[in-house]
Symmetry: C2
Subunit: 504 residues, 2 copies
């Protein structure tokens, strides 16, 4: 679970705070799972036109669309809160920081539309000054608005490789059909190799290789040796919309990219507002779905305490979590095997708090990209810059090594590295908060998203969106555009809602 070593939170129940404000309380907060098992009671039974399993971004978008179409809907959620991989962490004074999905940016049209619909604004991520790099043991600085600075920072060979190969990746991505990457002309070739093999073919300089590794760790929570080249290309292709093709820069960029804007009130608030509009009775928390059975007329979702009967269900959890539910009848073979082949990345997000964002005074934007524990960071301070918040992302092999340590060591590793990037003022944070999405909690099993090893998209990918009778699948992994982002989750949820409404 989330760990704070000094209380800066307003409420005891970290992460549950926002949900509580809209009345989405635990149904029986004093009864443990084990106690419930020892004293079985007759299960309750409820009905709705549509059931939604999972109250993350995809599930809430699906439920919202179903409700707008005038159909009844019940959302069934394992956690004690809504939001899934999107979670606010409360700071004193009413400010929040996000410990999961945070940003929105250009071409993420559905997110901006939903935000407008519920009346939430956005404001630009701090992006003035230089970005720090740590590659091959050396710290250097580059400008986000002048790519030629990479030549100075990475050396001539490495800099030119980045300037040449990144656009080449964009070109290859344009050959990958969004939503159906397995139909690309070169799908078999690209799904036959790892991103590591591609890296070996295209990057010779130690610096450019190190930079590429750092990006991969943060994009997928995995090393280039784990990820299919076709999956990376499909991810790049998806970083756009119906009129603007995706690019690597849209994925990793701040201004003009996926990290451009932040959401007033924090990203989780969007989904809390949707939950409020559905009514707290229709968002059932702390209720893991154990079993989904369907027949000629209905589908039933069974939890430890109740059963829910609907005409259709949207299962809005990542493929890796889908397989922890029992299905009757069994899933089709290829769908079941897909869920065995879409692991969650190795991932954590750490927020380090300072009295103010001192790096701004020194001409730094707070962003780092590097080979150390911290793969990337962003300045995540509230609008007024009080406190200064450094959000650090830790992924892949770096996450596994860091995550094995105890809390004091984990904290020291992060703070020491921030000192290396930002000088001695980074040595004295006023607070430290970490969200370990991998291993420390049950309902994500990793982050930021599921990814595909070679052979998976071409062999099993068509099952990402293919309904199984009354079951329609959602989750950002099954989106067309913006796979892995909140936008992708919303798109997947809205698509699943359309599938459900068409079959009602």
């Amino acid at each position: 679970m989330a760990t704070s070593d000094r209380s800066i939170t307003r409420r005891g129940l970290i992460g549950g705070g926002s949900a509580a404000t809209v009345g989405l309380l635990l149904e029986h907060p004093d009864v443990s799972q084990a106690a419930k098992r020892r004293r079985p009671r007759p299960p309750r039974r409820r009905q709705a036109d549509v059931l939604v399993v999972g109250a993350g971004a995809a599930g809430m978008a699906a439920a919202h669309a179903v409700a707008k179409a005038g159909r009844s809907v019940i959302v069934i959620e394992a956690r004690e809160r809504v939001g899934g991989r999107v979670e606010n962490h409360d700071l004193s004074g009413g400010e929040i920081v996000e410990v999961g999905g945070t940003f929105v940016g250009p071409t993420q049209d559905r997110m901006y539309a939903l935000l407008r619909e519920v009346g939430l604004g956005t404001w630009p991520t701090y992006d003035e000054g230089q970005t720090n790099l740590l590659l091959e043991g050396k710290t250097t600085r580059v400008s986000n608005t002048d790519q030629s600075t990479y030549v100075g920072a990475l050396g001539l060979v490495g800099g030119l490789e980045v300037l040449n190969v990144f656009p080449q990746i964009d070109q290859m991505a344009r050959e990958v059909p969004v939503g159906a990457p397995w139909t690309a002309g070169r799908a078999q070739e690209w799904d036959g190799k790892t991103v590591e093999t591609f890296k070996n073919e295209h990057f010779q300089s130690a610096e450019s290789r190190s930079l590429f590794d750092a990006f991969l760790r943060i994009l997928h929570g995995a090393g280039p040796n784990e990820v299919s080249l076709l999956f990376l290309l499909s991810y790049v292709a998806a970083a756009g919309n119906e009129t603007t093709p995706g690019t690597l820069n849209s994925l990793i960029g701040t201004t003009g990219g996926a990290q451009q804007d932040r959401i007033v009130g924090g990203s989780q608030r969007l989904f809390v507002e949707i939950a409020r509009s559905l009514g707290s009775r229709n968002v059932v928390l702390s209720s893991p779905a154990r079993r989904i059975s369907q027949d000629g007329s209905h589908v039933t979702v069974t939890t430890d305490r109740a059963s829910f009967v609907g005409k259709q269900v949207v299962v809005a959890v990542p493929p890796a979590l889908c397989q922890r539910i029992e299905y009757e009848p069994l899933l089709p073979a290829v769908r079941d095997q897909l869920t065995q082949r879409f692991p969650m990345g190795s991932y954590a997000k750490v927020e380090v708090f300072y009295p103010q964002p001192f790096w701004r005074d020194e001409g730094l934007n707070g962003q780092v990209v590097g080979e150390g524990v911290i793969g990337c960071s962003w300045d995540s301070s509230p609008p007024d810059g009080r406190p200064g918040v450094m959000a650090c992302f830790i992924g892949g092999d770096r996450h596994r090594a860091w995550n094995r340590q105890n809390l004091p060591t984990r904290r020291k590793l992060i703070v020491d590295e921030l000192v290396r990037y930002f000088g001695p003022r980074a040595a004295k944070p006023i607070d430290y908060f970490e969200k370990r999405w991998t291993g420390a909690e049950m309902w994500s099993r990793g982050g930021p998203t599921g990814f595909a090893a070679p052979g998976v998209l071409t062999g099993f990918g068509e099952q990402l969106q293919t309904p199984f009778g009354r079951i329609k699948w959602a989750s950002t992994e099954s989106s067309d555009y913006w796979i892995g982002y909140m936008e992708g989750a919303v798109r997947a949820g809205q698509r699943a809602a359309r599938q459900v409404l068409a079959d009602l």
Copy 2:
């Protein structure tokens, strides 16, 4: 489930027959799972020194070793039978054929020792005559004892590639430490690429590439694009024992290889005999483990009907199935993520029955290797050759295409292909039996074994055998030698038993 289109079985409950003969009946055969959930009753509670989850080869070997050490043991099994991926299918007249793991061969020392211990003999797999190949649309024949025949069958380039590269794979495998492939000197390099990339580097001829693909489909139930080169090399390295290094030929060979011998009474009988020796009360069938909790003194395994308390537990199911159990406390992050990254192959085994093994008259051993639906086949007739049984293995992409068809089409695809290999006498089988290990049943989720995509062994592999407190892991995937075979399962089970006994 298993499907027979003409009744040649002696008992109504296919696959449960052998278990029933030793009294391992369903505890409440008349009560369906659903009915049980509607009418909860107070769970029963039982105790033993050691609990074993999974009555497959690994679990039974573990339980046997624990019992021999004088400790009490209870085996908890989801299916209504013992054996796991090892299952006998009864023929009329008391003969059986195996629809899962079947063969034993040189260096599989623990299997031969266990067979001797329970008094079961072996007899040689039929291996006289030529093997059929189907590559690039052409059927040709080779001799198992004269590799130079591959030059004639595959053409000069393809034949020489096979004769050169297969020994090269053996050489590389010798650099891979058995039981710890992630410590190999070139582990990062080999785990960074797919077997497909290796194939592209080493095989130019269409015929040798096609042959290599066929072997991979049957070895792992996967294409070379899905599998890490390091995993393949570790699999080859494991195909031996402490004194004899593994080779590709030991994996795929008949006489002198892993398919050399068959077990009198069928392979499942070994594990049924072990179950008998444990006592039917100590092998609890039809009881999926739902939850495993441990504290400072005990471990508890909870099923739908009962709870079992022990000092130690061996979880003897494949990694992909381990993740469908709930753990309290949660698994370590890297172990949980390993279980997300060890998918089961795509696999089925089909037995086609003829009045006699007519192919023997024509100088054929009944073995095929080819690019069609059937990846490999073996003559699996009973010792007296009545009936003639052709055992066909279907894996990877071929399995996925075949498995989508209905039963008459699946049967036609197989029989038509056998006609292509063996002529018109193959057109009139007297029976047809298929075991679809992937998708058609809950408790394997694929076959023949779990495999590792690139990046998995180096990033997560050390968790295959690492205990988590009172939980020790077994299953053939976690063995040192003979990963993926019954021998590997027995070795893993015996190793887990040693770990458990040391901690009692």
